[in-house]
């Protein structure tokens, strides 16, 4: 039976998350102290060697991102670090668990990353509906500031940084990094054209590093224990651990941090207690709305960014939604497509018109009044041109669930 391996959740349940003393007693802020006495290139090298891939969903190398941001200009007056805590992908709640149970670990990760790239200002952009997370992070920032971990000359070094909380205002799209920047600048959440990437021109035109909560919460462990230690966890292509959030028709829905490479079968049947009421498993939605549907043939594939890609699936943010035999895949698809229609910002015409068209098509298919020959193929056709012509991941990702339906659930249409 597979066991959890906790890195981001190492202190969960062991310390009082509101107490900075508890966190320090558990070894907290030690890594920050030693980090600021090292050259910042060493921190970035450690991150590069760890091969940590971004935990927000895209899976880009976290070390490379840091390297680009730190090197994009050597004499800029300002660089920014942003923690993306605008967790909105349906089925995902890992960031909430970290912020509510160990806010100081996230904060320490942010401070180390800020030191690595030379940022003097850090923002944490939290989902507005996450009241508890906001409260916990606020308290953590206040107590860390009192101890001098945030502010000027941290641990007597030349490193100074300030941390500020910003709250999301109810837009799924603002979880996308460039849109998040627009929102931080006080504008409507419309995506930007890239390049330039945030590493060159980010917030207010300055180099900016944007990382997910889970990515940042991993940093203290990597820098503290070293990349060699970290590389022993997980698989070669996707090292380390990942928090999976399991919901739907399972006996014990919840969150589980395991080494990557753990199979879906182990996650669903060992950790989440198997199917609820002994239902038969029909489908698994991986990675949330912008994710993919798979069936039981993928249960024994080791989880990882590339291993799942080969199966036409995605790891995404680590959301696993389990659908039992009594659930309709088409009904869930309709809910997803209506969600996209609702959240499309309307900047790119293909996405604005396309999300509406596709939502109407699935509704007609579900009501049995669709006139075309093959509803699924027609939707994929629409989603393909949206993927090619939309600026941001919202318009680009409709194709993901649809293509996975073609591969695994064509017979349902």
């Amino acid at each position: 039976m597979v066991k959890e391996k906790r890195i981001c959740l190492k202190n969960l349940g062991k310390i009082n998350p509101e107490s900075i003393d508890d966190y320090i007693e558990a070894g907290g802020y030690k890594v920050l102290e030693s980090a600021v006495s090292r050259h910042h290139f060493e921190i970035i090298d450690e991150m590069l060697n760890s091969s940590l891939r971004g935990r927000g969903g895209a899976g880009f190398s976290a070390g490379l991102k840091e390297k680009f941001t730190s090197e994009s200009c050597l004499r800029c007056e300002q660089k920014y670090l942003i923690c993306n805590a605008d967790e909105g992908e349906p089925g995902t709640f890992k960031d909430r668990i970290i912020m509510e149970n160990d806010p100081h670990l996230l904060l320490e990760g942010m401070l180390i990353a800020a030191y690595g790239i030379g940022a003097s200002k850090a923002y944490i952009y939290i989902r507005g509906e996450y009241y508890k997370s906001i409260e916990m992070v606020k308290k953590a920032i206040d107590s860390a500031r009192k101890r001098g971990f945030i502010g000027k000359n941290i641990f007597g070094s030349v490193f100074s940084v300030d941390v500020e909380i910003r709250l999301g205002a109810g837009s799924y799209l603002c979880g996308e990094e460039l849109t998040l920047l627009e929102s931080l600048e006080g504008k409507r959440g419309y995506p930007r054209i890239k390049p330039p990437f945030p590493a060159e021109k980010g917030l207010f035109g300055f180099p900016t590093l944007i990382n997910n909560v889970e990515t940042l919460a991993t940093i203290p462990t990597i820098v503290g224990k070293g990349s060699e230690w970290y590389l022993k966890l997980g698989t070669a292509e996707s090292p380390g651990t990942k928090i999976f959030t399991i919901s739907g028709d399972v006996a014990k829905p919840g969150f589980f941090e395991v080494e990557l490479g753990t199979t879906l079968r182990e996650l669903i049947f060992d950790l989440a207690g198997g199917m609820k009421d002994d239902k038969k498993l029909k489908a698994i939605l991986l990675g949330g709305a912008a994710g993919t549907f798979v069936d039981e043939t993928v249960l024994d594939t080791p989880t990882g960014f590339d291993s799942l890609k080969e199966k036409g699936a995605t790891l995404g943010s680590g959301a696993i939604m389990v659908l039992g035999e009594d659930k309709s895949v088409l009904n869930v698809t309709q809910s997803i497509l209506e969600f996209f229609k609702h959240e499309s910002c309307g900047k790119c015409v293909p996405c604005r018109v396309g999300t509406d068209r596709v939502a109407r098509m699935i509704k007609e298919i579900n009501n049995g009044i669709y006139q075309g020959e093959s509803g699924l193929d027609d939707m994929i056709y629409e989603a393909e041109y949206m993927a090619k012509t939309s600026l941001c991941p919202l318009g680009q990702s409709l194709i993901m669930p649809l293509r996975s339906l073609k591969r695994y659930f064509n017979d349902q249409f």
Binding site: A169, G170, G186
Partner: protein
């Protein structure tokens, strides 16, 4: 100018980038964004009123009508949908006599649909003000809103 607004503005510098935090603070203090507040915010942040409206109408969080004493946010994320959120919405609408996006006449209740609130292991769920009500069933909804159903 409304004293509430004076208090809120004293916390900010009046820069354009602060527009969203200002709107949030005003809404938290006053309850909603009136046309008058929008005008004051525009003047304070040195941007046209159209821009303030442009930003405020983009984000789902901002409202231009008063909220009820109990504000119900109904999660319409995928996990809640699978576990029967549409049925829960129907039940609540029946009990309170208001539809999604409306406020009851006595200003006691208001309801809106929101995207996934990240409580997927507790689906289906709603938030009443800042409290999450989890694992809802029609029976639980009835209990929650029992006494309020009759005086709508």
């Amino acid at each position: 100018m409304d004293n509430n607004l004076v208090d809120v503005f004293s916390l900010f510098d009046g820069k354009e980038e602060e527009l969203i935090p200002i709107l949030q603070k005003v809404q938290n203090t006053v309850g909603f964004l009136s046309n008058d507040s929008m005008e004051e915010i525009a003047r304070f942040a040195h941007v046209p009123k159209s821009k303030v409206y442009g930003v405020a109408t983009f984000y789902a969080q901002f409202r231009f009508t008063p909220k009820g004493e109990k504000h119900i946010m109904l999660c319409r994320g995928t996990a809640c949908h699978v576990k029967g959120a549409p049925r829960i919405q129907e039940e609540i609408e029946n009990h309170l006599g208001i539809k999604e996006g409306e406020t009851s006449k006595d200003l006691k209740h208001s309801m809106e649909n929101v995207a996934c609130i990240g409580a997927c292991s507790l689906a289906p769920c709603i938030m009443v003000n800042e409290t999450v009500e989890a694992n809802l069933t029609p029976q639980k909804v009835e209990k929650l809103f029992l006494s309020k159903g009759k005086n709508k």
